[in-house]
């Protein structure tokens, strides 16, 4: 009624300027206070890797709670900085080598595993693995596990490389502009390993040694990369078109491309064939109901999600039942069913101290900034 009267007055030109301003400011104040009015429970927010926001990974959650919000990150450090700057997320997807950063920054909360119906089916060794448990508390519910290595086009690289697979391809001028490394400080770590260091030594390198390695190896691998990738689709497209012939990649790239009939091989580099396991961490910055966060984590641990991961991405899953549920052929093609054996077969990415990680972040950032 009030509204109609107002419009009538306005159309008849009876409204004074003062009235108009009063109404306008009332409207403005009203709009400003609107978001703070009571509303339905907050939606769950998840900090996630690109591609992992696919609804098939958390079906049981969506059936109960609807669609969650996602914030996509390039690397765990980006996600951590975002949380530290005040971004409220409920869950985050770190890995065995990075979860310590969240715990040390005091943004991770302990996970009460009794609230996870699928926990009992998680590989026992993963239930107590490093990074899953820290200081006697479960801080990451393990979900996916797999590899990090070089995916390459056997039809486009030299036989020399195929006979002698090595991380050296990212530093070889013969492949300049034909490779794509992940936008990660591993660019420097791998260089140190080519220099003869063990992975562990290289990951813990600091000071002048690190700086020198960044100046030579870091710059080389950045300069030779067509692009430093931040999203797996970039790599998939690049490898498929032949724009790049080799790239740092996870199992899903190889699986996706071979499924499309594109010749792609997954290298076992002599310096190291890397392995990792990742999972969900509960953040204490969340605004959504904790029960919802547990639902989300539980959905990720479900054998159905495992089946999707195995069949869709060629990645391992933490639930023992996933391997029974998944297509036998897909499991056989993947070549591994036991996470522990799998970790032993490769070089597991490790945690380093906050100090070393910070130094690595800085040196890597400077290397990228100073490219010609």
């Amino acid at each position: 009624m009030q509204r109609i009267k107002f419009i009538d007055q306005m159309s008849q030109g009876k409204l004074s300027r003062r009235d108009m301003l009063t109404k306008a400011s009332a409207f403005g104040v009203g709009m400003l206070t609107l978001p703070s009015l009571p509303k339905a429970a907050d939606v769950l927010t998840c900090l996630e890797w690109a591609g992992y926001d696919d609804p098939s990974y958390f079906k049981s959650f969506s059936e109960k709670n609807g669609t969650p919000n996602f914030s996509i990150f390039t690397g765990e450090e980006d996600a951590l900085a975002k949380v530290l700057a005040g971004f409220s997320a409920d869950v985050m997807h770190p890995c065995n080598y990075s979860v310590n950063r969240f715990v040390n920054a005091k943004v991770a909360a302990e996970i009460d595993v009794t609230k996870l119906s699928n926990w009992k089916d998680v590989f026992p060794a993963l239930q107590t693995a490093d990074g899953v448990v820290m200081d006697g508390k479960v801080v990451m519910a393990p979900a996916d596990w797999g590899n990090a290595s070089i995916a390459y086009r056997p039809d486009l690289v030299d036989d020399d490389f195929k006979k002698n697979e090595s991380w050296g391809i990212f530093y070889d001028d013969k492949y300049a502009g034909k490779v794509a490394m992940l936008d990660s400080e591993l660019c420097i770590t791998f260089g140190l390993m080519l220099d003869g260091m063990s992975y562990k030594e290289a990951a813990w390198a600091t000071g002048d040694k690190l700086k020198a390695a960044a100046d030579t190896w870091g710059r080389k691998c950045t300069a030779n990369s067509r692009f430093l990738w931040t999203d797996p689709t970039e790599v998939n497209q690049g490898l498929a078109s032949g724009e790049i012939v080799a790239a740092y990649a996870w199992n899903d790239t190889v699986k996706n491309l071979t499924d499309q009939g594109i010749p792609v091989a997954y290298a076992r580099p002599k310096e190291g064939f890397f392995t990792w396991y990742c999972g969900l961490t509960l953040l204490n910055s969340g605004k959504a109901d904790k029960a919802m966060a547990y639902d989300f984590i539980d959905a990720w641990l479900s054998p159905e999600t495992g089946k999707t991961l195995i069949e869709g991405s060629g990645l391992g899953h933490s639930n023992t039942k996933s391997f029974e549920l998944a297509d036998k052929q897909a499991v056989a093609k993947m070549g591994f069913t036991d996470p522990i054996q799998h970790m032993k077969d490769g070089t597991l990415f490790i945690q380093v101290s906050d100090q070393v990680q910070t130094e690595y972040n800085k040196v890597w950032g400077d290397t990228k900034a100073l490219m010609q």
Binding site: E77, A85, K106, F227, S241, E243, D354, G365, D366, M371
Partner: protein, 307 residues
């Protein structure tokens, strides 16, 4: 009585501006002050140390005996990334600005002098690129310039090349091209407005006095449209220096700009105070450059001559 109306007009002016002032205060001034405050703090591990210090600014300008060489240019700094990227960003933005003006000026000229009917329609047509998001426009350039992109496919099908041209994408030139396209509509309008305002009798007078078309353009049209053109150039140059999305998507490893460093400092390196200091320094440098430019061309004189 006179005084009274003058005062109320003055009051009314401010009352009308109040919403704009409020928005500016909340959305611009407050974050800027927060950024300024942040730049005087320091990052200490995961915590921020709130003792005011100039340490971040010193980090940016601290001299070093051994200069860092970038493209043969010596940078005598201990921490050269901000200085190097500042210079690079300014160069990329200048190239983009020149490109934009070269492309936009003829368009505006055409609109102002050649279009007699349906001017509004033409102006609406100009805004069509803005109907999609900026991100999509950058991505579409990735498709145009890409390995299997429009340009490469076309050249290949015409038999001009066997292998796709790789220098099209992932370098500073790609950044400049993309920025130029993204900002062009912003520049056509101010140039158009200043061309539109030109009194046709001045042009007639120039012709009557024996100027050729080209001389008439140089002596009458160009100077009279200068304020709009300069304003348009500023409108492109100032925001593009700090752009970070475009270099991130089409710049490749060598196409990084100062905005990317600021983002990197705020996020991956978790050093927001240093990032804030770099951002403030960037604003100061751009401000100084623009001020110097206006002083150099005598903008005040130029404006008074026009009006």
């Amino acid at each position: 009585m006179m005084r009274h109306t003058e005062k109320s007009a003055w009051m009314a002016g401010y009352t009308l501006l109040t919403p704009a002032f409020l928005v500016m205060a909340v959305m611009m001034v407050a974050p800027l002050l927060a950024l300024l405050a942040l730049s005087f703090w320091t990052q200490n591990g995961f915590e921020i140390d709130r003792t005011p210090t100039l340490a971040n600014y010193w980090t940016i300008i601290e001299p070093s005996d051994e200069p860092f060489f970038w493209m043969g240019i010596p940078f005598p700094f201990k921490y050269p990334p901000p200085a190097v990227l500042m210079l690079k960003s300014i160069v990329v933005s200048l190239v983009a600005t020149v490109l934009v003006i070269l492309l936009a000026y003829p368009m505006a000229y055409f609109l102002a002098f050649r279009i007699k009917r349906n001017k509004t329609l033409w102006l609406v047509l100009l805004t069509i690129p803005f109907w999609t998001s900026y991100l999509l426009r950058v991505f579409s350039w990735k498709i145009v310039l890409g390995y299997n992109g429009a340009i490469n496919s076309a050249l290949k099908s015409m038999g001009l090349i066997d292998q796709p041209l790789e220098f099209l994408l992932y370098n500073p030139a790609a950044v400049a091209i993309t920025l130029a396209h993204a900002w062009i509509a912003f520049t056509v309008l101010p140039i158009y407005v200043s061309l539109e305002k030109i009194d046709p009798s001045l042009l007639e007078a120039a012709t009557d006095l024996g100027d050729t078309k080209w001389r008439r353009f140089l002596r009458v049209t160009l100077p009279l449209s200068a304020p709009g053109t300069i304003g348009a150039a500023m409108l492109v140059f100032i925001p593009t220096v700090g752009d970070y999305v475009t270099p991130m998507l089409v710049g490749g490893p060598g196409g990084t700009m100062i905005g990317n460093l600021i983002q990197e400092l705020f996020l991956r390196q978790n050093n927001a105070p240093l990032g804030a200091a770099v951002a403030i320094m960037m604003m100061l440098v751009i401000g100084a450059l623009v001020a110097f430019f206006f002083w150099a061309i005598g903008f005040r004189k130029l404006r008074s001559r026009v009006s």
